[in-house]
């Protein structure tokens, strides 16, 4: 049933787009439904359009430039799209350098692309200023359903009941552990069933600072607002209230999480990257100076390129007193509210997030797909490290998003931890101070 639905919806878009471009209706649209699921879409072709060559609708698409191979992947998907949709010309304009700055300046000068990446962290700013196009009607027009995607990812880009972005991929935190260091300390490798107590005990055992030039610490606890909230969730707390109208960083659960998080360094089994003169714990992990770190899937290619010999595994972060907790980092495709070709733009977005495209992305190993249906794919079964990060999204994970004052919340969380680490402030005071600063920013 689904197949037919898809084909039909595809046909509708084609017709719709063509109508929108005010070109003569094509004489006939030939479509062949081939049995293999993935090929269905490909076989939909427009054959023979009367009249002279149609001016194609131009859709501009921008994202930040990541690795060349990732760019190549996106380009190949876009090529596939262009073969199927000769009437839409997608111009890919990757942005190198400071993405958000470039995007904002292009918005000021009214030269922004039709489709662009929106980060979970700042998309709301765009949505509330009416710069983003609400996608619900467009989604309905092609029969794309919200519940085909991982729920927390749709929720992450919903504001005031409207969806403003389709997550293109995502990451959660996984616990990366160094197998060699575990072997050296003759410890069993961690599992998905670990708890805070296991983490604490292992960190202490793994720490070995006898070599002053290359001390080894069990666990890395950077004052990073992109790591700490997972512990708050695991402790049954929240960063913000449900409607983002207040912060709960001074709640008992959050303070407890901060106590736990900062206790590693206080007890000598944890370290900050800056203590060892590094900017990022990923580097410490690669240098085997830190046995366990919480990082996202981005650490995998980094280790492959910079520290190829590292023997490591990834499991879901250990559960706290209140169970599992994790953070979701994600980037979505958004459509500009000022676009003149919303339908064509949506068609591109819909293509890039459909199951076939997402499978290609997943199998290339760069990113995790946002469609629920890919949870049981062979790729994830064969790549337990990636699977740990994918499955994190189903286990107590909440989006890395704190409402309109998000940057203040992050700032204050980081500073509260820094004050505890560097100025020996009492944890409860530090969290209270952070919460008050956030409340002030909200006024």
């Amino acid at each position: 049933m689904k197949k037919i639905e898809k084909v039909l919806s595809m046909l509708i878009i084609v017709a719709f787009v063509l109508a929108a471009c005010s070109t003569p209706t094509p004489e006939k649209i030939v479509e062949r439904v081939v049995e293999e699921k993935t090929k269905v879409v490909k076989e939909t072709q427009i054959v023979e359009v009367p009249g002279k060559a149609i001016e194609p609708t131009i859709v501009r698409l921008s994202g930040w430039a990541s690795s060349p191979s990732e760019t190549a992947l996106l380009e190949s998907l876009l090529y596939k799209f262009s073969v199927e949709n000769p009437n839409i010309l997608v111009k890919y304009e990757p942005i190198t350098g400071d993405y958000k700055q470039v995007l904002l300046t292009s918005i000021v000068s009214a030269t922004e692309p039709d489709i662009y990446y929106v980060d979970i962290f700042w998309w709301l700013e765009l949505a509330t200023n009416d710069v983003l196009f609400p996608l619900d009607d467009l989604m309905a027009s092609t029969g794309t359903k919200h519940d085909e995607f991982i729920p927390s990812l749709i929720e992450a880009f919903t504001y005031d009941g409207k969806t403003y972005g389709i997550a293109k991929d995502f990451n959660t935190l996984g616990m990366f552990y160094n197998k060699d260091l575990f072997d050296k300390a003759s410890l069993e490798y961690p599992t998905d069933d670990w708890t805070w107590d296991d983490l604490k005990a292992a960190a202490a055992t793994l720490t070995n600072t006898s070599d002053a030039n290359k001390p080894v610490y069990g666990f890395c606890t950077p004052p990073d607002p992109g790591r700490f909230p997972a512990f708050v969730f695991q402790n049954g707390g929240m960063v913000m209230t449900e409607d983002y109208s207040d912060t709960t960083l001074d709640s008992e659960a959050a303070v407890g999480a901060a106590e736990f998080y900062t206790s590693f360094r206080a007890e000598g089994s944890g370290v900050l990257p800056s203590d060892l003169g590094e900017g990022w714990q990923g580097t410490l992990f690669g240098k085997e100076q830190c046995a366990m770190v919480y990082e996202g899937g981005w650490l995998i290619p980094y280790l492959r390129e910079q520290f190829p010999g590292t023997q490591y595994g990834v499991v879901m972060p250990p559960a706290g007193p209140a169970g599992e907790g994790n953070l979701i980092f994600t980037v979505a495709w958004g459509i500009s509210a000022n676009t003149k070709n919303a339908e064509a733009a949506w068609k591109v977005v819909n293509f890039l997030t459909n199951e076939a495209s997402q499978r290609t992305v997943l199998e290339s190993g760069f990113a995790l797909p946002t469609r629920k249906s890919l949870q049981n794919s062979d790729y994830l079964t064969n790549n337990p490290n990636s699977a740990a990060i994918f499955n994190g999204s189903f286990n107590g994970a909440k989006p890395f998003f704190w409402g309109a004052v998000g940057s203040d919340v992050n700032d204050q969380m980081g500073k509260a931890l820094e004050r505890v680490f560097k100025e020996k402030q009492a944890v409860a005071d530090a969290m209270k101070q952070a919460a008050e600063a956030i409340r002030k920013a909200m006024q």
């Binding site: 200023n129 203590d275 560097k422 600063a437």
Partner: protein, 296 residues
């Protein structure tokens, strides 16, 4: 006759404008229009996404309600000026005085002292980050284990020290030029009177150099109030905002924060301008009030 005269006048005026026009056009756009627009922006709320909206003094109010400004940026900036300006002025004056003693290798030392000033602020900052890293050369030489730039108690002082280090060379050259202008007969007279060098320095050199000192201090204050590059490269305002200065805060609000605050940042820029202008004017009136003895 008068028509010819007029025509000549007009052609002279046209030539004049042709001569200044390349400079005038760009100057008008980037100095005059910019300045006016900065004032306008300071009375608006502007996040780049929607056109600027006038909101009166709200932006100024927000600046003065902001803890980061009140508790960190403003005190930090004053602290920076109060520590750096006197030290770099005195140090460069002493160096210039030492140079002026007709010692051998004067040219050689002059070149040497100017070296840090040739280096760009970014490059010297990158070098200092590396020297003051926890495992860096400074700790290796001194045997200390302080993480200088990651410690809220030390980071700002490292930046201050670096700035004193880099600007002293330039200031020394300015003083040296001033010293060489002081006629040697005055020194000779002092020597005959039996004054020792320290007395000469205090009672003759400093009063004679008053205008130059004024200039060096003014330039120093203006520069220090606007310190940015070193902060951006070395600490980005951290750790724990201990190195956030007013200029860095302007940059942060206008270009870095998730919610862009161009209006509020402009208000702060206007406030900073007033602070700098009034300090310069007060200083000028003090110097002039006390009766400057030297004209140059």
């Amino acid at each position: 006759m008068s028509i010819i005269l007029n025509r000549k006048k007009i052609s002279e005026a046209v030539t004049g404008y042709l001569f200044i026009s390349p400079w005038l056009i760009i100057f008008t756009i980037f100095s005059v229009v910019s300045l006016v627009y900065a004032f306008y922006l300071s009375f608006t709320s502007y996040n780049l996404l929607k056109p600027p909206q006038l909101w009166g003094l709200e932006g100024y109010q927000r600046v003065f309600d902001d803890d980061l400004f009140l508790v960190k940026a403003l005190p930090n900036t004053f602290k920076y000026v109060i520590i750096v300006v006197p030290i770099q002025t005195l140090l460069s004056l002493i160096l210039a005085f030492a140079m002026d003693q007709k010692l051998r290798l004067q040219r050689f030392f002059r070149t040497l002292f100017y070296l840090p000033s040739v280096t760009s602020s970014v490059v010297i900052s990158l070098i200092f980050i590396w020297i003051f890293a926890p495992q860096g050369i400074f700790n290796q030489i001194t045997g200390l284990t302080i993480n200088w730039l990651d410690n809220p108690r030390t980071a700002f002082y490292v930046i201050m020290g670096m700035n004193i280090f880099t600007t002293s060379g330039t200031l020394m050259l300015i003083f040296l030029a001033g010293l060489q202008d002081v006629s040697t007969s005055i020194y000779e007279a002092a020597q005959i009177d039996g004054a020792n060098p320290i007395q000469t320095f205090v009672y003759i050199t400093i009063p004679m150099l008053r205008p130059v000192i004024f200039f060096v201090v003014t330039v120093g204050i203006i520069g220090c109030f606007q310190v940015f590059d070193q902060i951006y490269v070395m600490t980005a305002g951290g750790p724990l905002d201990s190195t956030t200065t007013v200029t860095y805060l302007i940059y942060k609000w206008a270009f870095r924060d998730t919610t862009i605050k161009m209006g509020q940042a402009s208000a702060l820029a206007v406030i900073l301008t007033f602070i700098i202008l009034s300090i310069t004017l007060i200083q000028r009136s003090i110097i002039e009030g006390s009766g400057s003895s030297a004209e140059s």
